[in-house]
Symmetry: C2
Subunit: 341 residues, 2 copies
């Protein structure tokens, strides 16, 4: 489900109004990364669906079909990670253009199954329908999360620190490299390509944060920090202040920004598809948080800023502060489908 009708809260509210009240066993409905159901037992059932459309979310000139199959599942697993959950099962519904070689559909399915095996997710069904000009890949995933552990967008409080699980802007920089055919040395180029074409859902980090109750709110980064942190702020009824100097920007993202003559912070905060987790955590848990990640062998979360009263996302730089609430690739669009490959 990722970011429903991103940048258009009015539309998501209209949908919620149309769909009406959900029955009581629906713990979370529209407006989070997954829906959550209480069907009895110790766990909530998490449920998400996502569609990737050719020409909008991917371009077969950039990605192999195997990578595309992997990524189609990865972005859904990232939604489950954002709830602190464990993905279990998936179904594939593939729209495949009429004249196109069906062998390609199987290659895509192989990528999907491969990533599924890596993360313990069973692909238990799938079908293929004819599509128009381009392929459309729909994945739906079921997962579980122990009832007391589920994380959501709501829950951030004033004073909480804001973290991400990894560097920002790599996928956005990778897309620029491909689209503009930028020349970059392989050591810089390769991690960008991997971030864009083969993102890794942060499931271990998500489970760690949930099971040890280290986070107050969480979301996965599909539209960029400026937009996704704004979702957290809206859901939690708070504001956020980011410290420009603290934003984790890798040398390769800096290199691309230099070539494009662009502020690297724009790539890092407004670029989509990082598929890292963004979470908030009370300051008194700072040490526990660090040691928990260290003990789990996971990279230390990177601190970006702090939750403050208000309702917007502010970026503090030496030049002053500016409001970046919801700014991103997709801010003025109906959808979240901006910068994918």
């Amino acid at each position: 489900m990722t970011k429903p009708l991103t940048g258009e809260p009015a539309l998501i509210e209209a949908l919620a109004r149309i769909f009406g009240a959900a029955p009581p066993e629906v713990v979370l409905g529209i407006g989070d990364d997954c829906a959550a159901l209480d069907l009895g037992g110790p766990d909530y059932l998490l449920w998400t669906v996502d569609t990737l459309v050719e020409g909008v979310h991917f371009d077969l000139g950039y990605t192999t079909l195997r990578q595309l199959g992997r990524k189609s599942l990865a972005v859904n697993l990232s939604d489950v990670a954002a709830m602190g959950g464990t993905p279990r099962y998936t179904l594939l519904s593939l729209g495949w253009p009429k004249g196109r070689d069906p062998a390609g559909a199987l290659e895509l399915a192989e990528g999907l199954a491969e990533l599924g095996r890596e993360y313990g997710v069973a692909v238990i069904g799938g079908d293929s329908v004819a599509s128009g000009d381009g392929a459309a890949i729909t994945i739906t995933v079921l997962g579980t999360v122990p009832k007391g552990e589920m994380l959501r967008r709501a829950g951030a409080r004033g004073g909480d620190r804001i973290f991400v699980t990894g560097p920002l802007g790599e996928a956005a920089a990778g897309l620029e490299v491909l689209k503009r055919r930028l020349t970059l040395e392989p050591a810089l180029k390769e991690p960008l390509g991997q971030a864009l074409l083969d993102p890794r859902p942060q499931l271990r980090a998500g489970r760690l944060l949930a099971s040890q109750r280290l986070a107050s709110a969480m979301i996965d980064l599909s539209d960029g920090v400026a937009t996704d942190l704004y979702h957290v702020c809206r859901a939690s009824g708070v504001g956020a202040r980011l410290a420009g100097a603290a934003i984790p920007v890798s040398p390769q993202v800096r290199a691309v920004a230099r070539i494009l003559n662009q502020d690297p912070l724009d790539l890092a905060l407004k670029g989509g598809e990082d598929y890292q987790l963004l979470f908030t955590s009370p300051p008194e848990l700072a040490e526990t948080l660090e040691s928990a990640f260290r003990q789990a062998g996971l990279p230390a979360p990177l601190s970006l800023g702090v939750i403050i009263p208000g309702d917007s996302v502010l970026l503090q730089t030496p030049e002053g502060g500016r409001d970046i609430s919801g700014a991103g690739f997709n801010h003025f669009r109906l959808d979240r489908g901006g910068g994918s490959v």
Copy 2:
């Protein structure tokens, strides 16, 4: 999930091979109308996903967006009906063309929610992504069925009688009327249009058959009897013989066939999208079956023929017998996406 890669068993088998073995709690994986999961408790969880693509499965020149929203959900509910289950929850993932008025997306959502209310299904989430030239509507549904009651494609035995829950070929005839702008008196035209544009999933009949254990195998009719009965035959390891004289063809389907100078049996058996249930039932249950439907206030099931040894679907007419196994709109295509509106 409907008919995966219809007409191409080799492809569905290739997918099953790629996806590999499912964990033991997956009661039914690829190759039935729904996947079924045993997550504890008295019921199986049923899960299906379907995508309707503009220009392939629907044409906005024929259908209103509200009808389309209704139908998008109806075809998924029909998959749950085919297992004898009760649909409970649904998520919508809507691909909407970039430049198109978002008000249309809301109209579609309204139709979806409306049908959901009629059948007690909660729409608990949804998102919208940009699509290319046309809209793409993906619906995923979760339902339940008591563990001892689930029906599947496998289970038909020699001697079982073959039934459908309603008349055949109406949607296919309706599509011909719209595509060819046929002139037909309203009393004949209206039921065809309704069958095509606003099909009703046969949930009550499905539950009745399952709860009273009146059927040995079941499938919903999305690709036409020739194809869907063939799926039952393949899954059950049997053949089928249909009696041409017994095929239920309504006056309006006959009228369209006459105008098209076509055999009405072709519309009835090879036309898609009836969304009636096709089931098999042992002959000794014939009376119980009839009285159960009567008591429930449902139209009596219509008998088409009988299950026989073999592996094909034979149609018996005064001119002789012919093999129609898998014949239908979509037999020579990758997909099931043939004749929709």
